[in-house]
């Protein structure tokens, strides 16, 4: 895989919801080290597009390829990680238990659990029940999930929600590092991205 070969390719995607065409003939290509930022008003189909990229929804037309193969035939699900509106964290489990389940569902990645918690500034919270954490801390815990598993493509739905300035900075640093090490990111955000070192594509849905 050379540095510039396209990895995530979407061609002719369209999505129709309740008779409303959210988008049609959407085509994009994402290469190694690139970030794709989806912009648009509420209800413009950003989340729908992310869910189509996750395979939760079928596009009404078009197809998505990963490394040249259709996503259902490829290694796609072993290579991607998703953080949605819902953070997918069990509040009755401790921070550590949550992360070990995430790890069991994927393959061990870049960081061991404890190092990942240090990265997201949650060390010392290992045995705390998640329900005792603040909303921002929960967000950071879901970021830790990206770090403990092996993945190349991050799909993030509004990753900056309920994060403070520090948290946003942290997320941006992690994203920069991920792309620098050959990762790809697709995200939606209302917040202005501050990623000077990264090649950011923008798609405006309306």
């Amino acid at each position: 895989m050379t540095q510039s070969s396209p990895i995530l390719q979407a061609s002719g995607l369209s999505c129709i919801r309740d008779d409303r065409v959210l988008f049609s003939e959407l085509t994009f290509t994402l290469n190694v080290g690139q970030v794709l930022l989806l912009e648009g008003k509420n209800g413009s189909g950003k989340t729908s597009l992310l869910r189509i990229l996750c395979g939760f929804r079928e596009p009404d037309a078009g197809q998505i390829c990963w490394c040249g193969e259709c996503i259902s035939d490829s290694q796609y699900y072993a290579d991607m990680a998703y953080i949605g509106h819902l953070d997918g964290i069990k509040k009755e489990l401790t921070v550590f238990e949550n992360l070990s389940v995430a790890l069991a569902l994927g393959r061990p990645g870049q960081y061991p659990l404890s190092d990942a918690l240090v990265r997201v500034q949650l060390s010392g919270y290992e045995d705390v029940l998640v329900q005792a954490l603040s909303a921002g801390q929960k967000r950071r815990l879901s970021l830790a999930r990206l770090l403990v598993t092996q993945n190349r493509l991050w799909i993030l739905d509004e990753p900056f929600t309920s994060l403070d300035k520090q948290g946003i900075k942290l997320t941006e640093i992690l994203m920069t590092e991920h792309t620098a090490s050959g990762g790809l990111i697709v995200l939606t955000s209302h917040h202005d991205l501050n990623l000077p070192a990264v090649d950011v594509q923008r798609i405006h849905l309306s």
Binding site: C54, F56, Y77, H85, I89, A104, L105
Partner: protein
């Protein structure tokens, strides 16, 4: 190796969760006991009649209790997004889902078996029938969880899935009800029950192998 690890991680996770919110275990069990207590009150304290219909009462109540407990199988995971994460796993989803179903059975099905002897005595069931009752519950309640999982996976995305769930699931429970209820009745009359038990074993194996596939497909469908 890592797939078995994932299976047990899910199993362990669900068991820990159930222990931390105990009402999930207690509610179906209480319901089971309550429904069975209602029968003598409704029919009258006629030992002969109660004894005659005891297998049916216990099994129908078990069916209803199992159905009532189904909602907790995927509900909280659906609401907080954990289910999305499970479905995005690179492991075969049907195996992970099977882990959830096994945990669910351990938490809601197994207690029914433990309390059943007491209820059998309540209804005056003869001694040999009680052993067979426990055996049929042991073989039958996992089937209820496995089949129920399909129904609940189809309806978990609906706001008011409860009523439709019973319509989907109860007709599919009929064979278990027939063979299990009949085995207990026959045992009470001192007749052999190997045929029924063998059929129940066959049904259990069949659902164990087949049910996780449509459940996984239905969960994916419920995500869209």
């Amino acid at each position: 190796m890592s797939l078995t690890h994932a299976f047990f991680a899910i199993l362990r996770r669900d068991l820990i969760l159930a222990l931390r919110r105990r009402s999930e275990i207690a509610n179906p069990l209480l319901f089971f006991v309550l429904v069975i207590t209602l029968f003598p009150l409704g029919i009258g304290a006629r030992p002969q009649l109660l004894q005659a219909i005891a297998p049916g009462i216990i099994w129908v109540s078990a069916l209803l209790a199992a159905m009532l407990s189904l909602d907790s199988l995927f509900r909280s995971d659906f609401d907080d997004g954990s289910l999305e994460q499970i479905l995005l796993s690179s492991h075969p989803i049907s195996v992970l889902i099977l882990g959830k179903i096994v945990a669910h059975w351990l938490v809601t099905g197994l207690p029914l078996i433990l309390i059943a002897p007491l209820l059998a005595v309540f209804l005056g069931m003869p001694q040999p029938a009680i052993g067979v009752l426990l055996l049929t519950l042991l073989l039958g309640t996992p089937v209820l969880s496995l089949i129920g999982a399909i129904g609940v996976a189809l309806t978990v995305g609906l706001r008011r899935g409860g009523m439709i769930l019973s319509l989907l699931v109860l007709p599919l429970y009929v064979p278990v009800l027939i063979f299990a209820g009949n085995a207990v009745e026959m045992a009470g009359n001192g007749l052999p029950v190997t045929a029924q038990i063998n059929i129940l074993i066959a049904i259990l194996l069949l659902t164990l192998v087949l049910a996780p596939w449509p459940t996984a497909a239905a969960l994916k469908m419920s995500m869209s």
